[in-house]
Symmetry: C2
Subunit: 187 residues, 2 copies
DNA sequence: GAAGACATGTAAGAGGTTACATGATTGT
DNA sequence: ACAATCATGTAACCTCTTACATGTCTTC
């Protein structure tokens, strides 16, 4: 059992989904905390089915190709619940841009500034997307977002995490940009 | 050329180092942004030497086993400089604890609170370590930390990033803990 | 003489990315 | 016809982790 399989269980626990649906949802919802490709999803689903965590039924569709819709077994639900309440060792982030910042002293300050501003745009964009998603949830579900037993609460805190992350990233970028500008006025 | 090799170049660019030294420095300095094991370092150094990015000399020591001390070639320095000033595609974080938060609705609130408080301790600890390191740098080097052309500037901004990250993480943990406590008073 | 830091490697396997491959169905 | 979306898979390769393996030198 790897983390990916729990990520998939997390989504199937909310509603039965096909591999294709899972791919879309991983990109939209879980994407910020666990990116994934379809080439990883399909073999993983097969393994989980073998292990009895999920089962599927083939659903014929009128206007689309048939699909395998997976849902949790009791064992799957239990495995997920177990994993969620287990201690987690805090991860170390692996961020290439920060790694580059560590060698910023080697770079041409003008180019460095350009790169930092690029990142700024990127992270502003992402923050905006997360904020929009959270606003949409709030509009659709209102106070349910504040009920810890609701899946919506979980969605909301994950989104708030992502927004906070972008916020911190932007603050840091801004800080460095100002330091670079001060050292090199007129860039 | 993978990211790890650039991480190693980043350190060798500041001072010639052995594989063992690199391991220590990756843990202490670059650790927060790029964790690594010795079993990855040694083969990678061999590959980089083949590619002409680094060279080494065997240094005999009186009170320690001999070691291979690596230093950059011109090609290595150029490759590093090139990489630093290239655009970087912003990474997606991969955080298991946040993933678990996404399924928090399945968890027993008491246990959830316990896990969140564990994380709090962990991140408080980390923030403290980074702050101490930054304070030490500041004490040793003073205003040099503010000169973008100095390696110390790069070290300082990387540390500030790490501190900001822990800060944001702690703020988020606190937020969720308060929400859980409010829903379950007396936990 | 045992433990611990210093020092350097290899091997097996898990996890993840990129590329290859196929086919249905809808809209233009 | 062609592109786009829906839908599911396999294969090759790279990266990273875990475990295996060896040897030096110092301190207790």
């Amino acid at each position: 059992m790897n983390t990916l399989s729990y990520a998939l269980l997390s989504l199937i626990a909310r509603a039965p989904l096909s591999g294709y649906d899972l791919l879309q949802q991983m990109k939209q919802r879980v994407g910020p905390m666990w990116p994934v490709r379809h080439s990883q999803i399909y073999p993983e689903l097969a393994r989980m089915e073998e292990q009895g965590l999920i089962t599927y039924e083939v659903v014929e569709q009128v206007e689309r190709p048939a699909k395998k819709v997976y849902h949790l077994t009791d064992a799957g639900r239990q495995a997920l619940r177990q994993w969620v309440t287990e201690p987690t060792q805090a991860n170390t982030l692996r961020d290439e841009f920060i790694l580059k910042a560590y060698s910023l002293w080697l770079a041409d300050p003008q180019q460095a500034l350009a790169r930092f501003r690029e990142q700024q745009q990127e992270h502003i964009q992402r923050r905006g997307e997360h904020e929009a998603t959270l606003a949409r949830l709030r509009q659709s579900w209102g106070a349910e977002l504040d009920q810890p037993r609701s899946p919506l609460f979980s969605s909301a805190i994950a989104l708030r995490y992502a927004i906070g992350y972008e916020q911190h990233y932007l603050a840091w970028l801004q800080q460095v940009i100002e330091a670079l500008e001060q050292a090199h006025p007129g860039a």
